[in-house]
């Protein structure tokens, strides 16, 4: 299929496309998964396909396929779709002039060369880690390694090819005695620098520590969100409002807020496609625009929204390199890259007299992505008393608003974590509603 990408571009021009783009992606992943403490299966997945954007008279058509025999048909369909549509006055053009920065740390030869036996060893390390903590059992989990290759070509001269690797580990743990409590931990990285044993142990310790939860009073209090909990809320309740497409369509809580003091002055937020070994790091975004570092919030002030090439053209600004695709089967749309939360760090729990610590949340995806309102169930939550975690909390709901939360941040920990693309320490927020 890789060899057919160039051919597809020529097909599109021949079929009458004024501009055309071919996005090729291939991925090979190997996963070793366990149930309870026994390895259950190994999975090898090969995926490869092509997505074509064809533009006729300022209208875009899109088609994709993973079958070599269907490429010509897919290209023709894309051109035919473009012809059905009315000309889009906001269409400026496909990206051009790609001068790419150098990025590092996203490809590791060792990951690509990993044998099944080694994958099994890493999965076993996750299980072994949980066994360090008596009274717990893993329920499920696994190790995965993946290698991807991506090629973007367009008729404006864009040609960029990149290779990348990733490894990840996940483990879910349950307690076996007394009250049931569960916990999970996971990590993803570009190379083999994850301590899988420690991951299993952490999850097991957290499950055990959460056992015997107490009921707390409904109140307004300080809440410290672990990076896992915070990144869920950011992804579902904050990031959608920064998407220029949502701004342009009236679906964002941040319309007309550029230049406004949105957050506490100590807070900076960066969207960065370039950081060393980031999960969202690459020389180009998914439509061939060079990656960059974008200051989204500086000293509390909202500096910019995030753009792909289309929304940038519509707004008359430059793309911020946020053209993103979940797979070759979809055209690009705006998506965050490495999204970095930066706030002065301290020993945050030790500096908290009383409040609540929340490890993870469930239900963040039910947040109102426009208004920023969220109501989530806190998991593995603990009371904080005199600068230390005190007692596990049985059941707790936290309601709030993502934008208000930015104005109520009062502290951050040293525990910066890469939760996929979101990179953040634990964050303390004052005066949040907890309902029990």
């Amino acid at each position: 299929m890789y060899e057919l990408a160039r051919k597809a571009l020529r097909f599109a021009e021949k079929a009458g496309a004024e501009e055309a783009e071919v996005y090729y992606a291939a991925n090979h992943s190997t996963g070793v998964n366990f149930k309870k403490d026994a390895i259950e299966n190994a999975k090898d997945r090969f995926s490869e396909g092509i997505g074509v954007r064809a533009i006729v008279n300022g209208a875009v058509g899109f088609a994709s396929t993973n079958s070599a025999a269907q490429i010509e048909n897919a290209v023709e369909v894309a051109v035919a779709e473009a012809r059905v549509r009315e000309s889009d006055p906001d269409w400026v053009g496909l990206p051009s002039n790609g001068k790419y920065p150098t990025v590092s740390g996203i490809y590791d030869k060792k990951v690509e060369a990993l044998e099944l036996e080694a994958c099994i060893e890493y999965a076993l390390a996750l299980i072994e880690g949980t066994k360090e903590v008596p009274g717990t059992l893993p329920t499920s989990g696994g190790f995965t390694r993946a290698k991807g290759r991506q090629l973007i070509l367009n008729t404006n001269g864009i040609e960029i090819e990149e290779e990348s690797t990733a490894v990840s580990g996940f483990v879910d743990v349950i307690t076996v005695n007394g009250q049931t409590s569960t916990a999970y931990d996971f990590a993803v990285s570009r190379s083999l620098d994850i301590d899988f044993f420690a991951l299993g142990k952490n999850a097991a310790e957290l499950a055990l520590k959460s056992n015997g939860g107490i009921k707390v009073e409904s109140q307004k209090t300080d809440v410290i969100f672990h990076p896992f909990a915070l990144s869920d809320i950011i992804e579902e309740a904050l990031a959608p409002s920064l998407d220029a497409d949502n701004i342009q369509k009236g679906r964002s809580g941040l319309i007309d807020k550029l230049g406004e003091e949105l957050a506490v002055p100590e807070l900076n937020i960066y969207d960065d496609g370039l950081i060393e070994a980031g999960i969202e790091t690459s020389a180009s975004d998914d439509e061939g625009v060079p990656s960059q570092r974008t200051t989204v919030i500086e000293k509390g002030v909202l500096e910019t929204y995030l753009y792909d090439s289309y929304t940038a053209g519509k707004a008359g600004v430059k793309s911020t390199g946020n053209g993103s695709r979940s797979s070759y089967t979809s055209p690009p749309s705006v998506g965050i890259r490495n999204f970095i939360i930066d706030y002065p760090q301290t020993d945050i729990i030790a500096n908290t007299q009383s409040g609540v610590f929340v490890s993870t949340v469930i239900g963040a995806h039910t947040a109102n992505s426009i208004s920023g309102d969220f109501s989530v169930e806190a998991r593995n939550a603990f009371t904080i008393k005199d600068g230390a975690l005190d007692k596990p909390i049985k059941s707790l709901m936290i309601s709030g608003n993502a934008f208000e939360l930015l104005r109520q941040i009062t502290g951050a920990g040293f525990d910066v974590r890469k939760v996929g693309g979101i990179i953040t320490p634990s964050i303390r927020v004052s005066d949040l509603s907890v309902i029990s």
Binding site: N66, R85, S433, I435
Partner: protein, 447 residues
């Protein structure tokens, strides 16, 4: 590593899937996207001792090579970390019958006509006060072929269509959305369902919610509408009854068969033979689809099974499913709480003072601890047995078994809602439903 001996591979199977899908998105009255996707690929499993090997390949496939690759994985796993042999419950060759009838093939309808339909849906959703709208049309056809080393060979084709509309209203920095969607088989869906009326409903909901209040949370009696109660049936009860989770020790329903776990008013069924969105003639292991009573009159009756879990726990397979070429896992199909006989008016009287929670913006559940959290789309306060103020940003959370036991009344107005379930990172088509339910005591989250 030793060389693989095919005699050690006691089972393998292949699913070959070929299909295409079309999506059209109309955003604020403009076509945002028309896209088509043509796919072909296969998922192949092999079992060696207690270990599964799985290979998925996209594009044109050499099945023999695929079977070898999966076998090699299974063999190496079993060689490296041997464990208890996996037994598979016996399945008979499935009968492919009773497929949903399609009167109007969407492939015979032109793109222009589909775009026109979306435009009229958009117009209906854009009631006074609506600032933005989005309408999506989806159509997908696929052919599944199944083959196993047990000698089963079968196949079927399905074609489904549907649409989703969302409308957003805003005022003084407050944004509220209304959503409706319908999915089914055949283009006649758009004639059968009053889609324009549904679109108008989405628009009106968004506008009304602007002025809705956020209630004070706490413990109180509630009425759940069909959609929210359906989500509860699927998320809280259905998942906990999936035998793979039970075997992982991640279900509160482990070792509960035969026990009274719910109010005797409650019967919960999973039925893939219904022509709802979770329909299939046979599952991803070639097992005939069949109706399962999960809870019967409050008594926990059955888990949902794959061939492996059925052999281990005793039961009937038929609920093993996969998204595309992914490895099949135990899944639900059409899951619902069966009708009772209460009328809505009786429910209001029974509740007296509480809340009526309507629709769902999703939810999550921890099957191991048996706790859940769902956000309703909207609701009404119930005062003195009457519906009063409209409310928003309300959520329901609690313990699955407590809620099941606190069901005081079950309505007679069962309604199914189509959706997609994302267990194990795989999306499959499902539907869930219920009649209205009255819960005597539940934790409602609000401001």
């Amino acid at each position: 590593m030793q060389d693989i001996n095919m005699q050690d591979i006691k089972f393998y199977d292949c699913r070959i899937i070929e299909g295409s899908s079309t999506s059209i998105i109309l955003d604020n009255g403009k076509i945002e996207e028309i896209s088509r996707n043509f796919t072909k690929g296969a998922g192949i499993r092999a079992l060696c001792g207690g270990s599964w090997g799985y290979t998925s390949v996209e594009g044109d496939i050499d099945l023999k090579k695929g079977i070898e690759a999966a076998s090699k994985l299974a063999f190496s796993m079993n060689d490296g970390t041997p464990k208890e042999e996996v037994e598979l419950a016996v399945v008979n060759p499935p009968e492919v019958k009773n497929l949903p009838e399609i009167r109007i093939d969407p492939r015979d309808v032109s793109i222009e006509e589909k775009v026109d339909l979306l435009k009229s849906i958009e117009t209906s959703a854009k009631v006074k006060g609506i600032n933005s709208t989005k309408v999506m049309y989806l159509e997908s056809e696929f052919k599944v072929e199944y083959r196993s080393s047990d000698g089963i060979e079968s196949g079927y084709e399905l074609l489904n269509v549907g649409f989703a509309v969302s409308a957003v209203a805003s005022e003084n920095g407050v944004y509220q959305a209304g959503r409706e969607s319908r999915f089914g088989y055949g283009y006649e869906l758009f004639k059968k369902e009053n889609v324009l009326e549904l679109a108008g409903k989405a628009g009106n909901t968004a506008v009304e919610l602007l002025n809705a209040k956020t209630p004070k949370g706490g413990e109180m009696p509630v009425i759940l509408d069909q959609e929210l109660a359906g989500v509860f049936a699927h998320e809280a009860v259905g998942h906990a009854s999936e035998a793979d989770l039970v075997l992982e020790g991640d279900s509160i329903l482990e070792n509960r068969i035969g026990e009274q776990i719910a109010s005797p008013l409650i019967t919960i069924i999973d039925d893939p033979t219904l022509h709802e969105f979770g329909y299939y003639p046979f599952d991803a292991e070639g097992a005939q689809s069949k109706r399962t009573e999960i809870i019967k009159n409050g008594v926990f009756n059955s888990y949902l099974h794959s061939r492996e879990t059925a052999a281990k726990l005793g039961g009937t397979p038929g609920n093993c499913r996969a998204q595309g070429y992914s490895m099949p896992v135990v899944r639900m199909s059409n899951t619902f709480i069966d009708n009772g006989d209460a009328r809505f008016e009786e429910m209001l009287e029974e509740v007296k003072n509480g809340m009526y929670l309507i629709g769902s913006r999703g939810g999550q559940v921890n099957t191991g601890e048996g706790i859940f959290q769902f956000n309703a789309e909207k609701g009404y306060l119930i005062k003195n047995g009457e519906l009063t103020e409209l409310i928003r940003d309300v959520s329901l959370s609690g313990k699955t078994l407590e809620i099941l036991n606190h069901v005081a009344l079950v309505g007679n107005d069962l309604k199914m809602t189509a959706g997609r379930c994302g267990k194990a990172g795989q999306l499959v088509s499902v539907s869930d439903g219920s009649p209205h339910l009255t819960i005597s005591k539940a934790l409602v989250g609000g401001a």
